[in-house]
């Protein structure tokens, strides 16, 4: 059963806007005139490992939107090597065990050309070994450092989104220069928080700053008042990366604790991704700073490419669904799907990809990539791909909350987020 038609329905279901509608309106279907010049008009099958259910479902929905919008655009432009793109969606239930099964289905049942799209790191880590065994190129969109850290394999790549290590260290210069050098970190007490702690501690010291307190919060905590007295008086900046259902409570209680006089506050939008910044309880965030992977609110200087992408995924100027303005997008991350699909297209074209026998050629073609200038294919901004570590590096945004919206006050350069290579995948055999 064709999944290309799925694109139009998923778009409709999830409220894509007129932009994608126009892209899809071309009605480019497998075998239609647009693809007639290709040696084969059979579609390029891309297996989309989607968090349709489980704890990643909120992300899965928006990753689905970006994926189908990108596929619609690619088909509108004539497909890949003259062949249409078919997105085959399987639910991994945000479950590593299931994720590996889904890859097997992609390879053996659907016979896809590549697999793509996973966000949650534990699903990536659970699936990637299987991708290696199946010799199936696996393009992830997870931000995790696990790709560049060398723990995965040659078949796993992350060319469409930066990794969290790069994101964190690129924040340090701005924090040290503009907010303060004495930082108290508040983070959930597990791997996610620990990595922020470790990456940032090192990076801020390199900028002449120091972390004066590290406050680890147990993951099951739902009230935080008793932790705030542990914040040293000398603190100039609070760096927080709280996640989970109690984030709103955390912000509210922090506001109540500090009252009108507070240190500067910096956080990762991951805490409030897809949450309306104007939600009751978040008033305290006024004047605080957030990392954003891509600016949620349309900026005065937003590039033409970024605006075209915003329209294609059906998101309004405030970062919410055009048709359902209370439904805020996972805007800081979902561009990764769009960009990754375009990297796959570029890689397949560079490798003259014809079928699964050319999978190794495809990986080598992507490994050979370097500069990816800002364009409709890369609407988030310029990127540099490191073929050895299989990881893309790009700009990062720091936005300030004001008047109930987020506005970019600093853009960290690609260089701010670079670090020493930890692996060279190109030396590993296929």
């Amino acid at each position: 059963m064709t999944k290309t038609s799925n694109i139009s329905r998923r778009k409709t279901l999830l409220g894509l806007g007129a932009g994608a509608g126009a892209l899809a309106a071309g009605g480019v279907l497998p075998g239609s005139l647009g693809f007639a010049q290709a040696q084969s008009s059979a579609p390029i099958k891309i297996g989309f490992q989607k968090h349709a259910t489980g704890i990643g479902a909120a992300y899965g929905r928006w990753y689905d939107v970006a994926t189908n919008a990108a596929a619609a655009r690619i088909n509108e432009m004539g497909g890949i090597n003259g062949r249409p793109v078919e997105i085959i969606t399987e639910d991994d239930a945000t479950d590593p065990g299931r994720g590996a099964e889904v890859l097997e289905k992609f390879a053996n049942q659907h016979e896809v050309d590549v697999a793509f799209g996973t966000l949650f790191s534990h699903v990536v880590i659970g699936s990637a070994p299987r991708a290696g065994e199946l010799k199936l190129p696996y393009f992830v969109v997870s931000e995790g450092h696990h790709v560049a850290s060398g723990m995965l394999n040659r078949y796993t790549l992350q060319p469409g989104i930066t990794d969290v290590k790069s994101q964190v260290i690129s924040m340090a210069p701005f924090v040290a220069d503009n907010l303060g050098k004495k930082v108290t970190m508040i983070y959930p007490d597990f791997a996610f928080g620990h990595d922020h702690r470790d990456f940032f501690s090192e990076a801020i010291e390199a900028q002449g700053g120091e972390v004066v307190a590290k406050i680890a919060i147990p993951p099951t905590e739902t009230t935080f008042t008793r932790y705030f007295p542990n914040i040293p008086r000398e603190t100039e900046v609070i760096y927080h990366v709280m996640v989970g259902p109690a984030v709103l409570t955390f912000v509210k209680e922090m506001g109540e604790f500090f009252g009108p006089s507070r240190p500067e506050i910096f956080g990762f939008i991951d805490s409030l991704e897809a949450v309306d910044i104007q939600s009751p309880g978040l008033e305290f965030l006024e004047g605080t700073y957030f990392w954003e992977g891509m600016p949620r609110y349309k900026q005065a200087n937003e590039s033409e490419a970024a605006s075209a992408y915003r329209a294609a995924v059906g998101v309004n100027d405030s970062g919410a669904a055009i048709d359902d303005p209370s439904n805020v997008a996972t805007y800081a991350h979902m561009f990764g799907c769009w960009e990754t699909l375009h990297v796959i297209k570029a890689g397949m074209e560079a490798a003259d990809y014809q079928g699964p026998a050319d999978r190794a050629k495809l990986i080598e073609a992507v490994e050979a990539m370097s500069d990816m200038p800002e364009s409709i294919e890369h609407p988030q901004g310029d990127k540099v791909f490191n073929g050895k570590t299989h990881q893309a590096f790009g700009k990062q945004f720091i936005s300030k909350v004001g008047d109930g919206r987020l506005d970019v006050v600093h853009t960290a350069s690609i260089e701010d987020g670079l670090y020493e290579d930890e692996v060279d995948y190109t030396t590993r055999s296929f």
Binding site: M1, R9, R98
Partner: protein, 461 residues
């Protein structure tokens, strides 16, 4: 190095779009945690406690009058129109199985899981319990069988003494599938399960007869018949919810077991997503490992809950039977008091799935536009948008939470009323009526707190 997980807001905006029951509810967790839920829990519990106290003031027998039905039309003949509905349901099921096997692999675009979980398990369950006997019209099992073998004679006799124990076992297994299976949502897998169960049912009906099989073994027919006893109307008679329990319904230990399995499963379904439960099994709720890793803890937890509820409930009943002056057989009391838990099982079912239903029914409608993923837009349904933003608006979240909590409290109030009436059927003095229910009343109050706490608790699964 340690892997970086990306728990992010997904733990905040948990799984609104999940299609299957095990991931129900709670997009709105962050806002719920900001609500004064402790005050609401106290208020709800007081409502149940006050109901218990008010019932004490009733004269024995007064409730019997209240729970007596009004008979409007007893002489209505048996129509066979519903046979056509059942045949249509068989065709629909066959279509769904086909879609499950050959349709889109995304469960959010495939009618098999969407219809099964959202329309059947969430919606029809509640309609059957509250509105009318919809199962009689949409039961897919007898339709095809009746067509194939209209004058079928059973080859073997299913003993009456077996009662509905086979259905109890099957229902317990089904609940295990819903809660513990790694991928109950996978369209193809679900279709194969449904097909397998259909074949099993056809074989059973052929061997043991259509009616005995549907009344004793086929767990969904049995469950739907049982929850139907809470409807206000039956065969031309009307009364307050629960009246049927006292008029013409016969129950044995197997019925008690089915109620306990249903209530325990519904309760555990809420519990196993909470931070509390995840902490008990050593899982970081912000780093939820997925269902595959938790198959055994969930299975043990589910059946442990059935056992625990049965023991606690049994003890509550037993304590009453030894305290009263009249001699009351424990088994009889256990059976009849257990039926009074049925409203709570139904109330939890509603409350548990309410949020998921509000989103998923929109997905079902939009998917109906193109059931085979061929690019159709039947009836213009494909242009309908699935709205989820309302789950991030504090006012709506509060209204939804209060609706869920209200239903949970009302279900407990009804259970308390039915329990009081049941006690009246065993005892004749006001003292004994009260003493018989002493343990049960304490259990009811605790269970109300538990049910409302479930709604208010942070969840990580």
């Amino acid at each position: 190095m340690a892997p970086i997980l990306k728990p992010l807001l997904a733990a905040f905006l948990i799984a609104v779009s999940s299609v299957e029951p095990a991931f129900a509810h709670a997009a709105d967790q962050g806002f719920v945690l900001l609500l004064p839920t402790t005050a609401y829990i106290i208020g709800g519990t007081l409502t149940v406690a006050i109901t218990i106290l008010l019932l004490v003031c009733l004269r024995p027998g007064q409730l019997a009058t209240v729970l007596r039905p009004i008979v409007l039309n007893r002489g209505r003949g048996d129509s066979t129109w519903h046979h056509w509905g059942q045949i249509a349901a068989s065709l629909c099921l066959a279509g769904l199985i086909l879609i499950g096997l050959r349709g889109p692999t995304d469960p959010q675009a495939n009618l098999m899981p969407l219809v099964l979980w959202t329309v059947w398990w969430m919606l029809l369950f509640v309609v059957q319990a509250l509105v009318f006997d919809v199962w009689k019209w949409v039961n897919p099992w007898p339709g095809l069988h009746r067509l194939l073998a209209p004058d079928h004679k059973a080859l073997f006799r299913l003993p009456k003494e077996v009662s509905i124990w086979p259905a109890v076992i099957l229902m317990a297994a089904f609940q295990g599938f819903v809660l513990a299976d790694a991928a109950p949502n996978d369209p193809g897998r679900l279709a194969r399960f449904a097909f397998g169960y259909w074949m099993f049912t056809l074989a059973g009906m052929t061997l043991f007869g259509r009616r005995p099989w549907l009344e004793q073994v086929e767990c969904f027919s049995v469950l739907f018949n049982l929850i139907g006893t809470m409807r206000i109307a039956r065969a031309g008679a009307f009364g307050l919810p629960g009246w049927q329990v006292f008029h013409g319904s016969r129950f044995d230990l197997s019925h008690a077991a089915l109620v306990l399995v249903t209530l325990a499963a519904g309760s555990f379904d809420g519990l196993y997503e909470t931070f509390w439960w995840l902490a008990q099994i050593g899982v970081n709720p912000l780093e939820y490992p997925g269902r595959t890793a938790l198959i055994w803890p969930t299975t043990v937890g589910l059946y442990g809950s059935v056992l625990l509820l049965s023991c606690v409930f049994g003890f509550a009943v037993f304590s009453g039977t030894v305290l009263v002056r009249e001699k009351i057989p424990f088994k009889n009391a256990f059976i009849h008091f257990s039926i009074t838990l049925l409203p709570i099982a139904i109330g939890y079912h509603f409350a548990h799935y309410f949020v998921t239903f509000l989103v998923q029914i929109q997905v079902v409608i939009a998917t109906l536009a193109d059931p085979f993923a061929l690019g159709w837009n039947l009836f213009g349904l494909g242009s309908r948008r699935v709205m989820v933003g309302f789950l991030t608006v504090p006012g709506t979240v509060k209204a939804i939470w209060l609706t869920q909590a209200g239903v949970v409290v009302m279900s407990h109030v009804l259970a308390v009323i039915l329990s009081h009436r049941t006690a009246e059927t065993f005892c004749h003095t006001r003292r004994d009526i009260l003493v018989l229910q002493l343990g049960l009343s304490i259990l009811m109050i605790c269970y109300t707190i538990f049910g409302l706490w479930l709604l208010a608790s942070p969840r990580g699964a």
